[in-house]
């Protein structure tokens, strides 16, 4: 187990360092002088010189990279060039919207998908199964931002039940905050639910065919008891895998959905930063997202080993 953990942790470190190098290269080295990237090629020389001095862009790339990483280890991400506040502070504020959105969608999707997937598998080749599979096929094809627009048309334009977008902030009361996140969460969970439902269904069907399920039935367990005690835990491994993969989908999904509903989250922050050419913000937010993806995959690997004891010996 410890060898397994050590190997996974090493992979994790390599991946995260590689990600930071790639981000730095793509933003500050390959496009040429970052001062020009930020101000545009026709900026006056005096302004370019000023920003070079202010952000230390006159130093060699390697020195800037090391300074960036060293700063990260001390919890520093530098100042936003546009807002003149620490990037950590900006991200911290915006995560108050993005995190509830991401976690809420994941939770809604997981609960719905597990129920639908198990329901479809236990009604295999019957009408309920076809219905669930048809729904998930549709869910995979609908672009989430369009689904969001349709929900706005229905619930905000036609029914006037929910706001069409925006976020009042948590200070305005929990209920108002939750209300303005309801449509976004529902929107984001659609495609996640579709994918996870398919995976859950096929995993349950697959495990239900295993010999040990027959053994369980031979002990006198009912179909339902065999499903709960023997099928589901084994079916969890593929579901976990896809759950890990989907974390990346959720994160990038929040970027899109925040734009659909005009939510002041990290997604809005990064697209504003792109328009403002605020490289400090872009660089750190992208690294944060990549890091979350990598960390989640690392945690999924460990969860596997907890669910399936066989994995502990295959390092």
């Amino acid at each position: 187990m410890s060898v397994f953990l050590a190997r996974r942790f090493l992979t994790f470190l390599i991946t995260i360092s590689g990600a930071s190098v790639i981000i730095f290269l793509l933003l500050e080295v390959l496009p040429g002088d970052p001062a020009l990237t930020m101000l545009g090629v026709d900026a006056p020389d005096s302004a370019v010189a000023a920003i070079r001095l202010e952000l230390g862009l006159d130093r060699p790339a390697a020195v800037r990279y090391v300074a960036w990483i060293a700063g990260l280890f001390q919890g520093e991400m530098g100042l936003s060039y546009v807002y003149k506040v620490p990037v950590t502070e900006l991200i911290g504020q915006r995560l108050q919207v993005t995190l509830p959105l991401a976690i809420g969608s994941m939770a809604v999707a997981t609960l719905t998908a597990l129920s639908l997937g198990i329901f479809a598998a236990t009604n295999h080749n019957r009408i309920g199964d076809y219905g669930v599979m048809g729904f998930s096929q549709l869910g995979l094809a609908i672009p989430d931002f369009w689904f969001g627009i349709l929900l706005i048309i229905l619930f905000a334009v036609i029914l006037h039940w929910l706001p069409s977008g925006g976020f009042p902030g948590w200070d305005e009361g929990l209920w108002r905050g939750v209300k303005s996140l309801m449509l976004p969460v529902f929107t984001l969970s659609l495609s996640l639910t579709a994918v996870m439902t398919r995976v859950t269904r096929s995993a349950v069907l697959e495990v239900a065919r295993e010999d040990f399920v027959r053994t369980a039935r031979a002990k006198g367990l009912s179909r339902r008891a065999a499903l709960w005690r023997h099928v589901l835990r084994n079916a969890l491994v593929p579901v976990l895998t896809i759950g890990g993969v989907l974390v990346a989908t959720v994160l990038t999904g929040t970027l899109v959905i925040e734009n659909v509903f005009a939510l002041p989250g990290v997604g809005k922050l990064i697209f504003d930063a792109i328009s403002n050419r605020d490289l400090m913000v872009v660089k750190n937010v992208v690294l944060l997202f990549a890091a979350i993806v990598v960390v989640v995959n690392f945690m999924v690997d460990i969860l596997y080993a907890m669910v399936d004891p066989r994995i502990r010996i295959q390092t």
Binding site: L140, T252, V294
Partner: protein, 299 residues
């Protein structure tokens, strides 16, 4: 030897051919309902893109302010947008963008990814380790993050969307091909070819690749569908296709400003995306059933 006469499992129950093992591929394909629906939808998308090259009902770019935000009518079947452009014409021309982006991105990913995957499967050892670690790294950057990095560094443009999708697809194909390739290398006919003294490259081209080509085709279909969705999302966010180039995603982002005035204009581009993606997904699933009934059963 237990007699496991399992009850016949009909794929995922989407009208897969039953007891048709004796028919040829074409016969089975014709009998596969969802596959045929997929073919029909995808065909419609390709044909509208092709037709739009030479003819559209109106110009997809011509601005006629007098005709703005019109409801569907005999002259404008899908209505007009905020600049009075004909929505049907824009949708037809938008199919071009989706197809071009999808084709280039998937080809880029498939060519590089398949080569890397085959190489990893043939060489194993540290070659495989390096390729797999690189692919881990690649997967840490979902399509939108790559597009954001490219846009922040070089400014917006459709080329960013294509590159982002292409780069992302490299590891998707590499992983899939490596897995299937390793399984092939353990088969008897490959062992026999090695015993006969054939080299890695010859075995890969003569034995491994032909046997996993169906997996690659299925993946390419699914990746194409994902590419259409992603291109739409990137264009919606403003980091993909740029005006005046018609794009379904950007049409949706523009329609959102007029959502209270003319909600109907937000419906058409979305439907076009859904039907195209659905078509490709159905083809992909159908192909999986048709080329390998065993795989179908395991879904």
């Amino acid at each position: 030897m237990t007699e496991t006469v399992s009850n016949s499992d009909r794929g995922s129950g989407q009208g897969t051919g039953r007891g048709t093992a004796s028919l040829g591929f074409l016969g089975r394909a014709l009998g596969h309902r969802s596959f045929m629906i997929g073919l029909l939808l995808t065909g419609a998308m390709i044909i509208s893109a092709l037709v739009s090259l030479v003819w559209t009902p109106h110009s997809p770019t011509e601005i006629v302010i007098a005709e703005r935000l019109k409801l569907p009518s005999a002259s404008h079947w899908f209505g007009t947008d905020q600049f009075g452009r004909d929505i049907l014409s824009m949708i037809m021309a938008g199919a071009q963008t989706s197809i071009v982006v999808g084709l280039i991105a998937v080809s880029l990913g498939a060519v590089l990814g398949v080569s890397l995957g085959l190489w990893a499967a043939a060489r194993r050892g540290w070659t495989e380790d390096v390729i797999m670690r690189l692919s881990d790294l690649n997967l840490a950057f979902p399509v939108i993050l790559i597009a954001i990095l490219l846009t922040a560094g070089w400014g917006p443009g459709i080329i960013n969307a294509i590159l982002a999708l292409g780069i992302y697809n490299i590891s998707v194909f590499a992983r899939q091909v490596r897995g299937a390739g390793i399984a092939m290398w353990e088969r008897e006919f490959v062992l026999a070819a090695r015993a006969a003294g054939k080299g890695n490259l010859a075995i890969t081209i003569e034995h491994v690749l032909p046997n996993i080509i169906s997996i690659i085709v299925v993946q390419a279909t699914i990746s194409f569908a994902i590419a259409i969705l992603a291109e739409a999302a990137l264009s919606y966010l403003g980091v993909g296709s740029q005006p005046p180039n018609p794009s379904w995603g950007r049409m949706l982002s523009e329609s959102q400003s007029y959502i209270f005035l003319a909600p109907i204009i937000a419906v058409w581009p979305g439907l076009a995306i859904v039907l195209s993606v659905l078509g490709l997904n159905l083809i992909g699933d159908g192909l999986r059933d048709l080329v390998d009934p065993r795989l179908a059963r395991r879904r």
